[in-house]
């Protein structure tokens, strides 16, 4: 029992640590890299890191997806206890729903960003973010 608990912690922490690492990499890309494409990639990675973090909150070790529940026994009344029993072993569905939405939004933002990068390249003939400063002060 102790072992599993320990195991669980490692897994959970590993998720958090990975997520934070991914976020840091994304931030690095977005803030330091000079190429617009790399900036967009950095933002995208940052986004994935956040999504990972979000999922890991609702994660239960060796849990199942919230749609795979034990079969609903016929004539089982829908009481609170029964619902609890059914949902045992399920990961929390809410973060997953959130992440799905966040992924869609992130996809949309990335698409807009890439199209802007194309426009910027056509307009300025460069992808260096330091050279695209017509608007300032």
């Amino acid at each position: 029992m102790n072992f599993t608990l320990f195991d669980l912690k490692i897994v959970e922490y590993s998720f958090f640590i990975t997520a934070i690492l991914v976020i840091m990499i994304g931030l690095y890309g977005a803030l330091v890299k000079k190429s617009l494409i790399k900036v967009v990639i950095g933002l995208s990675i940052f986004d994935s890191g956040i999504n990972l973090l979000l999922i890991s909150i609702g994660y239960i070790t060796s849990g199942t997806a919230p749609i795979f529940s034990p079969a609903l026994v016929k004539d089982m009344p829908l009481t609170l206890e029964n619902i609890k029993k059914l949902s045992e072993g399920m990961v929390d569905p809410v973060p997953q729903a959130l992440v799905l939405t966040a992924i869609v939004i992130g996809f949309g933002v990335t698409a807009v960003a890439l199209s802007l990068v194309i426009r910027l390249y056509r307009h300025h003939q460069t992808l260096n973010i330091d050279e695209i400063k017509n608007l300032k002060w």
């Binding site: 803030l31 000079k34 900036v39 973010i129 400063k133 300032k136 002060w137």
Partner: protein
Amino acid sequence: MNMIYILFTLMFGGAILTFLAHKVSGLLRDTLFVLTVLASTVLFYTKIHTGDTVDFSISGLSLQWGINAYGRIFSMIVLGLGVMASFYSVSYMKGKERLGYFYFNFLISLMSMMGILMSHDLVSFFIFWEMMTWSSYFIVIYNGKNVQRSGINYIIFSALGAYAMLMAIVMVYAHTQSLMIPDMMQAFPFFPAAYKIWLPILFLTAFTVKAAMMPLHVWAPDAYADSPMAYTSVFSGALSKMGIYGMIMVFVTMVNYLPDDTWFRETIAWLGAITAIMATLWAIAQDDARKLLAWSSVAQLGYIITGVAVGTPLAMLSALFLSVMHALFKATLFMAVGAIEKQTGTTKFTEVTGLIRKMPWTFISSLLAIIGLAGIPPLGGFVGKWMLYESLINSNHYILVIAIFFASTSAFLYCYKFLFGFFLGQEEKEWEHVKEAPALMVLPMIIMATLLLVFGVFPGIVLKPIDLGMQTLGYSTTAGTFWSMSGLFNEWGNQIMMRPLAYAIGGTFLFFLIILTVKGFKETRYVTTKDISSSGEVPLEHENLTFSEGFYQPFLRAVCPVMKRRMMTYYQGFGQGMEAFFDYLRRVYSGNGQTYAIYVIVFVVILLLFKNSLFG
């Protein structure tokens, strides 16, 4: 509906109708404009009585309009000048552009001045104050001459004053929960000590800006000189008096309750005197009549401020009397300059000369006004200045008397310059075609000059309402002690013994004047200005004998060390420094998207580092 509402509806509606009528026809517009001013004047003097009030509330603030005897003194100036200037401007502004705009702002500024006098609460006072500011601002820039300089200067200083007043108002409101001016007056003695100092300072900032006191006067010369003369008469005559109106209230209700008010009064009185001296010197140095009169306005307001600050009943009486007189003579003079500008197209002494025969009525009214300005009996200016000197001496301000006396005598120099430059001197070919200004322009000048004479001989006519107003402010009546209305001549000042002597001297002077005129009448011979000889040489036709260039150079050389430092340069330096600083500061918006993203991260990091001290 209450008459007070009708008055404001009339003026505001008249302004809008005049503005709209501009699109229809010029005659309709002019008629509406004059009618609005006339009708509101008649309405005010027939239907609105001292003590009438109306109460209403806006968004939970209870407000009150009404008129008391003190406001009536100034309403006399505002409406009187308003009527005169409205007739004048119909003729003066003929043929100019954007007349709808001009008349609209003219009426709005008249209305807001009446509003200031009729506000019994601080919020409507402030609203009308600001309306007065923007409406007069729009007229200052009407001519389009250096709008970015004179206009912006005017708006900056006005707004500085107005915001100081707003701050004072909210301080009072937060402290007393009431916006009524009488409530403020009653509560003032019980305010905390810091409030007692700050409230008068803040209010005085607002009022001294409008009254153009050093060091807040720098907007005035430009603004007076650059607005159309038809409005400058109101601007300098009435609008600046709103500052005096407020100052008197502050002195009577606040400064009197200061634990130690002497330093306060002395400072303001001295600032007023310095304003008078410096502005007089600057007026002497001007070659443009508009600038000269503008500086002279500043100087005259300096005397009034000194009188207000000294604050004895006689000083207050003289300040109020001088306010009325200054409105009359300065408006006449500005109108005269306007008439000359209209007829000749210039207002420079160096260009126009010898108009005395071409514009006789303008000359006579300017002459009377100049005599009034210089403070020579028997015109109104003398009465006011006499009382001012007397009050200063009685309250032991001897050095102040010397200062004021210096300014007052130096004023003779620019007075003479004005008369000589325009009217006397050689008649030139260039100005042969010049005719007298239209009757509509001449009449107001003559009426006001005559009034000046009447008030000089019978000052009681003006002193009576002033006395009533001062009683509203809490002074005991001054009638009988400082002045009285007798059958033939009025008396003023408290050294009545002087009077027979003065009249005797005046009478003798007049007697000889008449005798000499009658005696010399037969020998009169009309000559041209070239009919002279200097050093045995007779001047040729084209030779210019007028020496308007470099007038008073020796005098100016003598006083130039004082005039070297100008307030304006300091303000300009400050303004430029600020703008350079702003320019430097705005570089935080570097234009690089990545920098902005870094700002975000840095901001987060800072918040995280200081989260314990920021959020408990």
